[in-house]
Structure formats: C-alpha cells, structure tokens
C-alpha cells in the first residue's frame, strides 16, 4: 500500500487513531477549525458514516447479528463507500482530508476479534495509506475512565461482549480495549504512526499537531482561491459518537 502523495494525488490525507476516550476526536476537530480559518480546502470524514450502509450496520448491531467476519465486512463496505464517493474525488481535487479513524481501526479491532490479519489487510488494500497518521496514546486507565465515567451504558459490540471476555460489560470493555491497544502498538512502526502523548493538556497537544502538520505539508498549496466564510463551530462536541452506545433497542 502506498500513501496518497506516493500515488500522485494532489490532495493529502491526515488520519487520527487511538482508543475511545483518547481525545483524538477533539484534536482533529480543532485541527479542522484551524485549517478552515487558514482558508485551506479541508474535508472531515468519520469512521462508520456512510448513509447507504448505515441502516444495515445499525440493524446488525442492535440485533447482535454480527460475527467477527460480517462485522469486519460491513465496516469495510462502509469504508469503501466513503472512500470511493468522497475521499478519492476530494483528494483528486487537492483537498486536505482529515479522517477520524482510518483502516488501522479495522486492522486493530477485527484482528482482536479473531479475523486473520492478512485477510483484513487484503480487503482494505484498495485504499491508499494516509500521508500522516497520528496515534493518540493515553494511559489505558485514562481512556477507560473518560468513557466509563461519562456514559455508563456500553453497547454490546463496543464492549466486545461478542468475544465473551467477561459477562460484565465494564470488565469486558476494559479487556477488549487493552487488546486493541496492543494491536495498535504492534503496527505502529509498520505504518509509521506518529505517537502523540494524549495524557497532556488539550492545548498542548493541539500545538504539537499544528506544528506536525505544517512541517510535513506545504499548506499554502492547499488554499482556496477565494476564501469561504468560516463555518459555525459545532454546538456540542461528540467524542467517538458512533462508539458510545445508547440504550440497546430490543
């Protein structure tokens, strides 16, 4: 797999990865606000957000119908839809695309669920690699507390309950997240993750991020010819909103 730059795309893709509760969504949102203010052509894309595939995904999750294999494939379908319909045209048009989670989320999660690593990677190999991947590494306890304190109800798949790690959702979630973290760290070198210390204050992390981005990407090449008005900020910050489960629907 090659990066977008290596594949001669005029645009660049920046991805953030990390556990739920690592603060990566906040950071990429702030990065987006900064790039918008700079008049850069920027687009933000979230994991698991293709409209077409959404109804099948949520049905599968609510009815607990998914196996490791179908879980993996339905997320790959969702990714492919976003990739072919949004990411590729935008990157061809010279956008900076910001992705809250990219293929590595699937690599870490699906392998933790027992899918063979080669199979999962093979399924995603139609996609180019990000030009910059930042991994938000927080202490496991910090991430767990951020999720578990705020929202006490965990969804079935989110907690990894399908893996039968524990009958207690909290316990299961902790073991599951710990295993995902191990998977992330194991691929960190192979995919040149830049590790960001997510235990630091928000502002400090953002300074590091902005410097990383401006050092590695020649931003003035991505400016709009005529600047757009700055879009309004989001009323509420959703951190990993897809990940956090509301009450399960029977």
């Amino acid at each position: 797999m090659k990066t977008f730059a290596e594949s001669n795309f005029p645009g660049r893709l920046i991805a953030v990865e990390g556990l739920d509760g690592s603060g990566k969504s906040t950071q990429i949102y702030l990065l987006k606000r900064w790039l918008e203010a700079e008049g850069i052509k920027v687009y933000f894309s979230e994991w698991n957000s293709s409209e077409l595939v959404k109804s099948a995904t949520s049905k599968g999750k609510k009815r607990e119908l998914l196996t490791p294999t179908t879980f993996s494939l339905i997320h790959a379908t969702d990714f492919a839809d976003r990739y072919e319909r949004h990411l590729v045209p935008l990157l061809r048009a010279g956008y900076i695309v910001l992705c809250d989670r990219y293929v590595f989320t699937a690599f870490a999660r699906d392998v933790t669920r027992g899918c063979p690593p080669d199979w999962v990677r093979g399924n995603y190999n139609f996609a180019c690699l990000p030009d910059l991947t930042m991994f938000f590494k927080a202490d496991l306890d910090v991430s767990l507390n951020r999720i578990l304190e705020g929202r006490p109800k965990l969804k079935f798949f989110e907690a990894g309950m399908d893996l039968r790690l524990s009958t207690d959702p909290y316990e299961s979630f902790k073991i599951f997240q710990g295993r995902i973290l191990d998977q992330y760290l194991a691929m960190s070198k192979e995919f040149s993750f830049i590790i960001v210390d997510a235990n630091q204050p928000v502002e400090k992390q953002q300074v590091i991020l902005r410097k990383l981005v401006s050092d590695r990407i020649d931003l003035k090449k991505f400016k709009r010819k005529s600047p757009l008005p700055l879009p309004p900020s989001l009323p509420v910050m959703h951190d990993d909103k897809e990940e956090i489960l509301e009450d399960k629907v029977a």
Binding site: S55, A56, T69, T70, C115, P116, W119
Partner: protein, 231 residues
Amino acid sequence: MKNSHPFYGHGLPRVKADDLGGKLIVIEGADGSGRSTQIADLVSWLETKGHATVQVGLKRSSLVSEELEKAQEGNVLSRTTLALFYATDFADQLENVILPALKAGFIVLADRYIYTLMARDMVRGMDEAWLKNLYGIAPVPDAVFYLSVEPEELVQRNLSKNATLDYWESGMDLGLSRDVFDSFLKYQSAMQNAFKTLQKTYGFDIVDANRSVNSVTKELRKKIGALLEEK
C-alpha cells in the same frame, strides 16, 4: 455422510473445517441457464432418497439484503463498495445458514456461490487476487456445476420468460452499449470469459446447458448420485 470442508483461504474465526459434515453442492450459471429448475428437481430427488436439504442463494441474507436491493435500485454504489456489500451478504448466509446446515449433515444446494460474485466483480475491473483473499472465507464445495449457455440462447430464454432483459444481467452499469440487447450479449460473453478464468483456479464442472432441461437433469443426477455414494 462424514467428511470435512477445507476453506479456500483463511476460513473463519472459530470455525473448524473438521466440524463440517454434510455436502455442499453449487449450481452456477446466468439467469435463464435453468438453475432454479434444476435445483427444484434436485431437492425433490434428494428428499425422496432421504437426504435433508437446505437452499441458499445470493442477496438473501437477513443482514443486508434489503439495503443491497435499495442501493442497486439507485445504482449509486461504486464497484469496490458493491463487491464488499455482496461479500457481506454472502458471509452472513455462510455463517447463519450454510455452516450450521453442514454441521448438521445436510445437503446444501447453493443457487450461485462466490464464483458469480467474483466473475461480476472481475468484469467490473476488480483485481482477481483481491477477490481471492476476500472469498478465502468460503468452504470448498463438494461439487460445482456451471450451467453454460450461449449468450444468444440466454437472450431468447430471458425474453420468452420476462419479455425484457434485466438491467444488471445486461451489465448496463458498465456502459458497454446504450442498447440493452447489445449490452446483454457483450456482458454475458464477458461473464463467460471470467468464468473460464476462474475455472482454471477453482476447477468446476462445466455443464452444457444449451441442451434440454431433461438431459441436464440426467447429467446432474448422475454426477451427484456418484458423489453421494463415495464414503
């Protein structure tokens, strides 16, 4: 009936090939090749002989079949997405219908299998090696029969049945021709070529289905009968 079903590739998490008894018999072929007629005959014949059967086909999963149908109506999915959507549908039926039936010693009759999916994707430019990895989850069937019918004959059969040619079976999404008749012929010969390519890897049995229903039935019963007698 005791046997085991190896997988084409990595297989599936938590499924052991040795747990899968039963028989998996696949009938492949275009619309109008006589698949459903032959499968209906095989079911009665096998049940009369005392075998329990289960039928599966494409786009029948409870997980994604509705969404897939909707997406096709609008023709909005690009090729990788469509390929993966169909693979999801296949995997869902594999785990919920095919594997449990094989474990229980049933004869599973598949009205099309991974080969049609792969051939369709290949005609749309997907990489064969990518498809091979993707469908490494599939168990190797005990027998695969490809009902081969010349495109000209398929046109006649489809028109006499429906008086129209199906959009997808004519490959109209590919822009081969704006004329559905021409497009159908071009698409079906491209599909036959893809099947020929796949035959080299997967070695299925090509059955001449230009012949009468009865002669095809006879050939299938003979071959399947021999398969069931193997211990």
